[in-house]
């Protein structure tokens, strides 16, 4: 299962400039695709267009060859799950209750969860080592734990596509690496298709199979990490000088330099 975009232009209501301009791409199935680009380049909009949360002004989004425009929310939520960084909780649910919300698209609104639903929720908790926290209120979790809970909820949705919107924002180094590692393990173990919007080029180059580079709403480069992460291109796109080193085991390493240094 995978997404195809055909010349998609998207604009937020009232905005003068489109957030995405004529973007055409194919999300490779069963692979981890990282989406890089400066703030405001349209990365998050791309995820929202894929999920149908933002309707394109022109162009089409296809999921397995079917236009997503006519798809119901439940149907979409059975195929693609979203992990974002910044939701707030009006009322604190427990970790298990929050993960169980991943079953929403699979059960009738008025019905309770059946045995299989519960088993899926427990498996998702287990996959992310959350069993010990299952009955804790989400208000009492650390940022790293919270992100694991969001991943578990996405797993409980049993989708083949996982969309991540800056999943490691606000996380320290160890937790950031942990999230990337877990996502990459899950991608392999469950052959998930992952689209990961991130600012961390180094981890993207190590864990992602493909990289998309967005700039001012346009798709400016697409390919393997070592093809896309080129010093001159990064400098042009981000307006910041960098030194790019290619290390076999670590992938491409991008070192930002100070603006005046070269």
């Amino acid at each position: 299962m995978s997404f195809v975009l055909e010349a998609v232009t998207a604009r937020y209501p009232g905005a003068s400039e489109p957030a995405l301009r004529e973007v055409s791409l194919r999300v490779p199935e069963g692979r981890h695709t990282a989406v890089l680009g400066p703030n405001g380049a349209g990365k998050s909009t791309l995820l929202r267009v894929l999920l149908g949360l933002v309707r394109p002004e022109s162009g089409r989004v296809l999921l397995d060859g079917c236009p997503t425009g006519s798809m119901r929310r439940r149907e979409m939520a059975r195929r693609a799950a979203l992990v974002a960084a910044g939701e707030e909780f009006a009322f604190p649910l427990t970790v298990r209750e929050l993960v169980a919300l991943g079953r929403t698209p699979h059960v009738a609104a008025w019905a309770g969860l059946d045995g299989r639903d519960r088993a899926v929720v427990e498996a998702a908790l287990r996959d992310l080592d959350l069993e010990g926290l299952a009955d804790r209120s989400v208000a009492r979790l650390s940022a790293g734990e919270m992100q694991r809970v969001r991943l578990a909820r996405a797993l409980a949705q049993e989708t083949s596509i996982l969309l991540l919107d800056e999943p490691t924002a606000h996380l320290d180094l160890a937790h950031e690496v942990e999230i990337f590692e877990r996502v990459s393990q899950l991608t392999k173990a469950q052959s998930l298709t992952v689209v990961n919007v991130t600012h961390n080029m180094n981890l993207a180059s190590r864990y992602a199979d493909r990289v998309l580079l967005l700039s001012a709403g346009r798709l400016t480069a697409e390919g393997t990490p070592s093809e896309v992460l080129d010093g001159a291109r990064i400098e042009r796109t981000f307006g910041c000088p960098v030194r790019v080193e290619r290390r076999g085991d670590l992938g491409v390493v991008v070192l930002p330099l100070s603006r005046g240094s070269e």
Partner: protein
Amino acid sequence: MRRGLPYALLAALLVLTGLLGVLTGPAGIGLGASLEALGGAGGDPVARAIVLELRLPRVIGAALVGGCLAVSGAVFQALLRNPLAEPYLLGVSAGAALGAVGAIVSGVAALGAPALPLAALAGGLLAIGVVFSVARVAGRFDTRVLILAGVVVSAFFGACITLVLTLAPAERLRSAFFWTLGSLSGISWPMVAVLAAYGLPACLAAWALGRNLDALALGEEAAAAVGTDVERVKRSAYLLASLLAAATVSVAGVIGFVGLVVPHAVRLLAGSGHRRLLPLAFLAGAVFLLVVDTAARSVAGPVEIPVGVVTAFLGVPFFLVLLRRRSAP
């Protein structure tokens, strides 16, 4: 078994407080006579009439009003993602009060028993209609606009009430004023029947929204991402909660506090998941208002203290203790 315990406890409490309510009153009918009247066989016909035609509908009505208010409050809090939300925030009570006060002052209320609740209901529905149509822009339902529209409509109807009361003849002023304080004393069997026929299905419908209300607590985008039809859920939640509030106001006036505090108390004790919260809030609201009403009509002898005063006197200390105990490390 452990998960069923709160339901069983509250249901048992509901039966006990209901019995207590039926046995309490200024007429001094003994326990035996009351039970005899409830049993339906023989006994003193006056006692029988008091128990069956005055006390029993009032007790059942109090339970229904309390339950519906608590559910309405819980749904409003989820919809607006705001713990301070309550059933009367968005103008329903002001609209209903204007309808009722207008009916009392103009003399329409004296035309027949159903006139007053109908006028109140009409006022409440008018407020719901205005607020709903203002908050619905381009097919979307903005909860921030909803709060503002509700508060402003509330203020406008409040000003209308003040104007009507100012112009009212003195002998009608007192009854109009007391109506706005809320009272369960006027509840008759037909009102109980209407409230049950209308409130219980609305509560069930709210319960069916439960999982979607949980999802909404994460924010609209996250709710949509797990498959919630966010616009439909917001619309249904607003209409159900408002209609529940309007129904209770039309039979019992404005009884504050139940819809604000009961959902919070239940959340503190039993968690925030709405599929569990809503039925427990219904039971807890019913028990709470029954206790309050029984106290209101018995502590000061023949004088009935306005029920809204007692809800605050009993509810505030209880809630503060709960809040303190729960927020302690």
